[in-house]
Amino acid sequence: MSERNDHKVVLPIGPQHPSLKEPGSFKITLDGEKVERAVVEIGYNHRGIEKACESRNYTQDLYIIERVCGICSHAHTSCFCQAFEDMAGLEVPRRAYYIRGIVGELERLHSHLLWLGVASHEIGFDTLFMYTWRDRELVLDLLAQIGGNRVNYGVNTFGGVRRDLEADLMQDILHVCDQLEEKIKYYADLATTETTLIARLKGIGVLTPEDVRHFSAVGPVARAAGILDDIRVVEPYGVYKEIPVNAVTDDHCDVYGRTLVRVKEMLESIRLIRVMIREIPEGPISVRAPRKLPAGETLRRVEAPRGENIHYIRSNGSDMPDRVRVRAPSEANWHGMSYMLEGFQLADVPIIIAAIDPCYSCTDRAVSLSSGRDEQIASWDQLRLFGIEQYKKNGIDPGSIAIRPF
């Protein structure tokens, strides 16, 4: 802590700090208790994952990609597998899509329950923290039964999934869904009626729809500002082409809105799991995938629990990728963090940071070493045209995508 000549205090928080378990540094200039300026310094968790992928074959890369994030490991592999299948021209069996969907929604449940626990811990509501983490164990046990591991389930493979869902297991999933629904409804009731919780969360960490567009925020942060930014709805993939998702949005634009969005999304996930289990078709769970990909590039988007997940693969025709780029949702949400923190109290800092559900290991991907050569800046119109072409190529009519007008 250092005091400047104008009696303002610069408070360094982190890299190791008590609020979250991953390293991230914040330099916060305080005027009394009020945050005047916040500088976010990330990059302590850079592991060189993208570079590691370039020197291994696609099958090995799948397990590196799975370890990009410890919470949304399935979303990352789903995205990577879809990009691979897109390039290889594989027809994935329908049953595999359904299993991917069920595991993806279970993952969303456990991610949101984890977040609810962390957020309540940040505001000193440790009872809710204990409750939600207890409930999360039910989901983790299910995921361990499905994939054989609590965190890195290893369900996805190129051309389908590795493990089938048996009838007994599906009954277990439905049973857990019944148990969880009752509890999550109680949390939803708590979030909308408990006055101390509402007073603590309302009006802090505000990000208006204009700010969301400006900072390119994604996921529940964007949806809490009323922007329907859900890839499962905007650009349906896999099972979501057959089972439509009722996207959850909110107009609070603050931490309270983000809490409501996540709690309601959990109920929507339970509904989706039930529908998927009811309508899961019989058949094979995977097709044989080639070891090499034809030369070319592809970009795929998947809705992870924290928001939009983007994977880019460029192939030169060998069994190793030429370039892999992973844009995790936390990376997009960090841009607005300084803006969200400024103007609020120091005591609000932990919950505002936690409200985006930050994942530092997701964020720290690549360092841009720009040479200035072979670079071109595309205008918005060019990018828009490119986007429309891409949508048409994927069989989606861009005119049907509803974007909230400002």
Partner: protein
């Protein structure tokens, strides 16, 4: 009427806790919570192995090693696993064309030195 506070009211609970079962589980008598189909220590069947080393090619961490100590005609197959490197993804099990690898639910693989982590399957 306000309930009268008794000093040492928690003492009864504390004494009761002395005779309760511990909340933690002892691994000595079997692990609880290990699900069916859990990915643990690998099992290897040398009789069916054809030394194609596809498992070695697909292992993301290079943890598995297959070695033929015999000749091409008279095979003497051995598989080694570096538990310190293995991430228990079991891709080798999926890759193996002869299904000579499988995963067990054995997760008690801790050792006191790095050298002890290199085990023969």
């Amino acid at each position: 009427m306000k309930k009268k506070e008794r000093p040492g009211g928690l003492a009864g609970l504390a004494i009761l806790n002395l005779f309760r079962k511990p909340a933690t589980q002892t691994a000595q008598f079997g692990l609880g919570g290990i699900q069916k189909g859990y990915r643990g220590r690998l099992l290897y069947d040398p009789a069916t192995c054809i030394n194609c080393v596809m498992c070695m090619r697909d292992c993301p961490t290079g943890a598995i090693t297959i070695e033929n100590r015999g000749t091409k005609e008279q095979k003497d197959m051995h598989a080694y696993l570096d538990v310190g490197r293995c991430v228990f993804c079991c891709q080798c099990v999926d890759t193996c064309p002869k299904k000579c690898l499988s995963c067990s639910s054995d997760v008690l693989l801790a050792a006191f030195s790095q050298d002890d982590l290199k085990i023969e399957l």
